[in-house]
Amino acid sequence: MTELALKVEDLKVWYWTDRGPVKAVDGIDLEVKKGERFGIVGESGCGKSTTAMTLLRLIKPPGSVEQGRILLDGDNLLDLNDEQMRSVRWSRISLIPQGSMNSLNPVVKIGSQITDAVTAHGDSVARAEAKAKIIEMLGMVGLPARVYNMYPHELSGGMKQRVCIAMAIILQPQVIIADEPTSALDVVVQRVVTQTLIKVQERLGAALVIIGHDMGLLAQLVDRLAVMYAGKVAEVSPAEDIYKDPLHPYTQLLIGSVPSVKEKKPLEGIPGLPPTLLAPPPGCIFHPRCPHATERCRAEVPQYREVRPGRMVACHLYE
C-alpha cells in the first residue's frame, strides 16, 4: 500500500443558521498519496473550499466541524490544540488561498510579508538566513531577487500569485493545498502559474491538493481527481480514467459541459439546479438532476465504494 500524505475520514462541516445547519461538507472520505497531485473539482457551493479551509482548521463560526478525522501523516489534526495546530500549519501543511494574490498587504514589501509567515509558523530563524531562503524560493517560482524589495502593486497578477506560492512552500510542507490558484488569471498567465506550481511541487516532492471548477485545467494538472457535488464526493478516479470513462452521471455531465476550442458541438448543460443544503433531497443527492435516476435513487443514499481498481464512486448504477 502506498503511503498516504493525507487522509480524510467521514468529514462533516456544517454552517449553523437560524433555519438549521447548512451541510456544506457532509461525510466525505479522501486519500492523498505522498507526492501526488490530487484535484478536487466541483461547482459553486459543492463544499470544495470549505474542505480546503477545514484541512488547515481555518473554519470559523457559524461553521463547525461536526464529525470526522483529518490524518496528516498519522496525526489527527482535529485533535490538536490551537498552539500545536499553529506549528503544523505552514511547516507541514500549507494553503494557497483563493484570490490569494489580492491578500497581500499593499503597504508591506514582499520580503517582509514572507518573513512574517516564516517567523509565525517556523522555527526561530535568523533574519539574514530567512532572507537568503526567501530569495531562493522566489527564484524557484521564477521571480528575480529584486522582488524581495518590491511592493505588491509593482507586480502583475501572475507574479503576485507566484509570490503566494513561494510563501506557501517556504517551510517545505509535505502537503500544499491550492484553492483555485489561477481562477482570476488570464489563460496564458494561468498556464505559467500552473506550470510553476507543478515544477515546485515536483522539486519538493510534496503532495499537492488543487481545488478547482475547471475540468479542462485540472486535466492538465492532476494524477487523481475527486468530483464533489452538494457536500459529497461523487467520484474519485485517476485523471486518465475519469476523462475517458467517467462513472458518475454527474461527472459525465460535467465533462460534457466543458466547451472546446477543438471541435464545435452543441453546448450541453446540466438540467435543474443544485439542491439547497438546508434541506437536501432524500436518497442520492444528485437524483433530481440525474438522467438515470430510479426509485431506489430517490429513497436510498448510495454507498461510496470502490467499483473498479482505484476507482471510487457513489452511485447505485454500479452496485
Binding site: 502583475s156 507574479m159 489563460v187 498567465v189 486535466a219 464545435k264 453546448l267 443544485p274
Partner: protein
C-alpha cells in the same frame, strides 16, 4: 456586397475609435491607451454574434463602455443607424437605449436586494412605455421569461437572494429581451456562472439571434465559448486588434503569434492532450509590457523582427472571409 445598398442597413459602426485614459497635466508617461484605432460594423438585417476576446487590460470592456455611452472616445466615432451616439438628442438617445441593451458579468450586483425581481421588469416597462394596462405588462413580462426558459409563477414575487446565479442572469437577459433590442452588449455574461448552467445562457443567446434577429457583442476572455457561439471574432491585445475574422477560422487556424499562444494555452479537457511545452515569461517582460513604438506583442513574440520594433503593424489580410492579422509576418500577403 456593394457598399451603397448596405448603407441603410448599418446598425452599429465603430469608426477608428481610440480611448486614452489618464491624460492630464502630469505628462504623457501616465497615459494608457486602452483602445486604439478600433473599427467594426454590424448590419441590421444580418444578426450576428461578434466576440470581442482578450485578456484583462486588452481593452474589451472599454469598448463595451464606449458603445454603451458610459464613456466618450478620445477620437473616432460610434454611429447607430448613421447617427453619432455621443451627439444624439435626448429623444434619439432614448431610442438608442431602447434598441441597444446590456448584460453584465455579475448577476448578483445587477439587482437591488430590497426589491422583488419584478421591479426590474416594471421599471423597464414604465421607462420605455411598453404597456398601458397591467394585463399587457404581465403578458409581455411572461413572454420574455418564457423565452429564457423561466416560469413566471416560480420567479415573479421573489427576492434576488432566493434565486441562483444562473436564474438571475437569465432574468437579466429576459429584461434586455423585453425591450426587443437590435443589439445586446454582453460583457462576460457567463464568467460567474457554473459550467453546468453556462450552456443554458449561451443557448439563449443563440436563440435570440436565430429566432428574433438580435445581434450580440459577446465580450469575453473565454475562447472556447466564443468559438462555440460566435460568428465573428476580434482578438484584442493591449488595446489593439491582433486578429479578426470568422470565429471558426481564427480559432481553428490562428495566424497572429499572440492568438497562437492564447489558443495553445487554453487547457484541454483531456489529460492525453497536455500543453505542448513550458512557456517562460520573464519577469522583466511581465513588468515592462508592450513596446511603445512598435508591435505591442514584440517583447513576447517568438518571431520578433527588427521591423516589429520600429512601428506598429497594420491589419494584413491572411485568409478568406475577412480574416486579418496585425503582424509583419503577413506583410507580403496584402
Amino acid at each position: 456586397m456593394s457598399e451603397p445598398t448596405r448603407m441603410s442597413n448599418r446598425l452599429l459602426e465603430v469608426k477608428n475609435v481610440r480611448k486614452v485614459f489618464g491624460r492630464g497635466g502630469i505628462g504623457r508617461q501616465h497615459e494608457t491607451i486602452a483602445l486604439d484605432d478600433f473599427s467594426l460594423t454590424l448590419y441590421d438585417d444580418e444578426p450576428k454574434i461578434t466576440a470581442i476576446a482578450g485578456e484583462s487590460g486588452s481593452g474589451k470592456t472599454t469598448l463595451a463602455r464606449l458603445i454603451l455611452d458610459f464613456i466618450k472616445p478620445t477620437s473616432g466615432e460610434i454611429l447607430w443607424r448613421g447617427r453619432n451616439i455621443h451627439k444624439m438628442s435626448k429623444k434619439e438617445l432614448m431610442s438608442y437605449r431602447h434598441e441597444c441593451q446590456a448584460v453584465f458579468q455579475d448577476p448578483y450586483a445587477a439587482f437591488n436586494p430590497f426589491y422583488r425581481v419584478d421591479h426590474l421588469f416594471h421599471m423597464a416597462v414604465t421607462e420605455f412605455k411598453l404597456a398601458r394596462r397591467k394585463a399587457d405588462e404581465a403578458r409581455i413580462i411572461g413572454d420574455a421569461l418564457e423565452v429564457v426558459g423561466l416560469r413566471p409563477g416560480e420567479i415573479l414575487g421573489k427576492y434576488p437572494h432566493q434565486l441562483s446565479g444562473g436564474q438571475r442572469q437569465r432574468l437579466i437577459v429576459a429584461r434586455a429581451f423585453l425591450l426587443k433590442p437590435r443589439l445586446i452588449v454582453a460583457d462576460e455574461p457567463v464568467s460567474m456562472i457554473d459550467a453546468s448552467l453556462r450552456a443554458m445562457i449561451l443557448d439563449i443567446m443563440l436563440k435570440l439571434k436565430d429566432d428574433f434577429g438580435i445581434s450580440f457583442l459577446y465580450i469575453t476572455h473565454d475562447l472556447s465559448t466564443a468559438y462555440q457561439i460566435s460568428d465573428r471574432i476580434f482578438i484584442l491585445y493591449e488595446g489593439t486588434v491582433s486578429e479578426t475574422g470568422d470565429a471558426t477560422r481564427v480559432i481553428g487556424n490562428p495566424q497572429h503569434p499572440y492568438t497562437q499562444l492564447l489558443i495553445g494555452s487554453v487547457p484541454n479537457p483531456d489529460p492525453a492532450l497536455k500543453w505542448s511545452e513550458d512557456i517562460e515569461v520573464s519577469a522583466e517582460e511581465e513588468l515592462g509590457k508592450g513596446d511603445k513604438a512598435g508591435c505591442k506583442f514584440y517583447s513576447r513574440c517568438p518571431h520578433a523582427m527588427e521591423e516589429c520594433h520600429q512601428s506598429p503593424p497594420r491589419l494584413y489580410e491572411v485568409g478568406e472571409d475577412g480574416h486579418y492579422a496585425s503582424c509583419f509576418l503577413y506583410k507580403g500577403s496584402g
